[in-house]
């Protein structure tokens, strides 16, 4: 346990002094290697582990899905999705709030990250809500909260990383994220109804339902709406692997923007590829160096020792999972989802398995709880994005999000109490 404290504590101290995460992980690993080794510093072990990790076809899903999201964020695709969602549910009280959640859920099935949703759809959603007379605080809160659905619904980048580290079927995890993602969307919509009914947020009068508008916007959005079906259907039908699904999704986004809608030029495409390259390189380099960190952890016997201790705790699995969830909620406030998964999966998954928890269920709980960190202070990425989009003060954005944390926490509690919410779909689909 002392070694674990030194290992994790040392890493946190190095990150706190401002070292880039990849360097902090690498330096901690080298220090641990020197302290626990038999003398000398076998520097070749780091590149050895890195190449073993990066020479992996599954991990290519990460840049490919990010590329698909970046291409979809250019041009009119996101506007088409939002217009359709508005026509579909905009007639209800707080209609654009519901449309916001529906559009984010649809976009989540193409992008796989919360930040892609907030950066792409967020500005469109907030602008539309402002124009219709919605309070800026409410618009900000619902936009930020609905982006948390991104890392839960397939194709989630966080689930790809977890599945690869925990040796769990990524297709199975994608299916497992569907029900909790939809549940979170419904609860967020429920909160909008509650806020509207209580009169705490003044909502503009809804526009009447127009079936013709639904058909018209539906026709405009039909091609982007087919992307989730292609991704999920392709993986489930055995036509392609998750990585290949990412490539097909990217190609589909290029065809939509470049040939069908003609709002994607070569310069935009190059910039989308460049942004993807930059972001993916940063993430994948961290993943590669983290594999060295994970290897040293196992070599030091830390996960095994922790698993033994957790297995000896006389506690119902529900309570144990709740403790894990609280821990991940806390960690998520300070570290990004991917970093946390990389650092903690090798440590906690053996412990969770030894305590009898299902790895798929555990993975979904882990990803959802860590994802809450994107909208909580002090380092929530989406919070900063919202400050940039709305020009509200940081504190105002945080306050606006607070009511929407309740449905998200309720989703987590329900998921912990009812494992079937995550395991039912993968089970019936044969994963």
């Amino acid at each position: 346990m002392t070694e674990l404290m030194i290992f994790v504590g040392g890493l946190l101290v190095l990150m706190a002094i401002g070292l880039p995460v990849v360097v902090a992980i690498g330096v901690t690993s080298f220090i641990a290697l020197v302290v626990t080794g038999t003398g000398g510093l076998p520097v070749e072990l780091l590149p050895l582990r890195m190449v073993q990790t990066l020479n992996n076809f599954t991990l290519l899903a990460i840049p490919l899905f990010i590329l698909a999201a970046n291409i979809m964020n250019i041009g009119s695709t996101t506007t088409r999705i939002f217009d359709f969602a508005t026509a579909l549910v905009g007639f209800t009280k707080g209609g654009l709030g519901h449309a916001n959640v529906v559009a984010s859920s649809i976009f989540a099935t193409m992008s796989g990250t919360a930040v892609a949703d907030a950066a792409g759809l967020g500005s469109i959603e907030i602008k539309a809500m402002k124009e219709r007379g919605y309070e800026l605080g409410y618009s900000t809160g619902i936009t930020a909260a609905s982006s948390v659905i991104g890392p839960i619904l397939p194709p989630s980048i966080a689930l790809v990383v977890y599945g690869w580290l925990a040796n769990v079927s990524i297709g199975g995890l994608f299916m497992a994220g569907l029900v909790p993602g939809i549940l979170m969307a419904l609860l967020l919509m429920g909160m909008t109804i509650l806020l509207s009914a209580s009169g705490k947020v003044v909502m503009p009068k809804p526009t009447p339902f127009d079936a013709c508008e639904v058909v018209r916007t539906g026709k405009r959005a039909i091609l982007p709406l087919m992307m989730p079906a292609i991704i999920v259907g392709g993986i489930w039908g055995g036509f392609f692997t998750p990585t290949e699904a990412g490539a097909i999704a990217s190609l589909y986004a290029v065809i939509l923007g470049g040939l069908v809608y003609r709002d994607l030029n070569w310069r935009d495409l190059f910039n989308a590829f460049r942004r993807t390259l930059m972001f993916s390189a940063v993430i994948l380099l961290i993943i590669a160096v983290s594999s060295f960190y994970g290897w040293i952890l196992v070599r030091m016997g830390i996960p095994q020792a922790l698993a033994g201790q957790v297995a000896s705790i006389d506690m119902p699995t529900f309570a144990l999972l709740l403790c894990f969830a609280l821990f991940f909620l806390l960690i998520g406030c300070f570290m990004s989802v991917i970093e946390s998964i990389l650092i903690f999966t090798p440590i906690v998954v053996p412990a969770a398995l030894s305590a009898g928890l299902d790895p798929v269920h555990f993975g979904i709980v882990m990803v959802i709880t860590l994802s809450v960190g994107v909208i909580t202070p002090p380092f929530g990425t989406v919070l900063f994005l919202m400050v940039g989009i709305t020009r509200l003060r940081y504190g105002q954005v945080v306050t606006a999000i607070i009511p929407f944390l309740l449905p998200i926490i309720a989703t987590i509690l329900l998921l912990i109490a009812v494992p079937g919410l995550a395991t039912w779909l993968p089970d019936i689909m044969g994963y």
């Binding site: 990150m15 880039p20 360097v23 590149p47 890195m50 190449v51 840049p63 490919l64």
Partner: protein, 180 residues
């Protein structure tokens, strides 16, 4: 960096133009590699599912290209200061404190990258006869991808440590907010 103004004279001006060229080269090559990966995988799916032709070597090739793409992308990201970091207190530091923190972190980074590059060089030598399954390409080439990236980042980090924070490293706001 594209919008940054070049320093007036001296070493910083040379570094500005050198790094801008290196970054543009890394971007161009990285994007070309990403496009190649995309096309390879799509071709493999079409060949397998529509034409019934297996192309198992594409997975190996795509993974190999990805290592080089990550290398070029990491180097470019280092120049742009886009590597993820947790900013706990640096915004509260004075000018001198920020300078010391900057030089300390770049010094540690330089040391780490140099060690990693050294390790990659050793591994490239040791793996010369270790070949990939489908294409029989030496694993040395995979380690070269990592080696060049780490050497590049070590050199830039050393420069940053010696010269301190320089304006051309700042990323435009538009680029920051458009990341997924």
């Amino acid at each position: 960096m594209e919008d940054a103004v070049a320093p007036n004279k001296g070493l910083d001006r040379i570094a500005f133009y050198t790094l801008r060229s290196v970054t543009r080269l890394c971007d161009g090559v990285g994007v070309a590699l990403m496009a190649a990966i995309l096309l390879l995988i799509v071709a493999a799916v079409i060949a397998r599912d529509l034409l019934g032709i297996g192309m198992p070597w594409t997975e190996e090739m795509a993974s190999m290209l990805a290592i080089y793409a990550i290398g070029f992308g990491s180097l470019s990201a280092w120049v742009r200061s886009e590597h993820l970091a947790v900013d706990l207190f640096s915004h509260k530091l004075s000018g001198l404190g920020k300078n010391i923190q900057y030089r300390l972190t770049t010094l540690i980074s330089c040391g780490f990258f140099a060690l990693a590059a050294w390790g990659a060089w050793i591994m490239s030598d040791m793996s010369a006869n270790n070949k990939t399954v489908s294409l029989s390409i030496s694993f040395s080439y995979l380690y070269y991808g990592i080696f060049f990236s780490f050497v590049g980042m070590a050199l830039i980090a050393l420069w940053q440590c010696l010269r301190g924070p320089v304006v051309w490293l700042e990323v435009s706001h538009e680029e920051e907010t458009s990341q997924p």
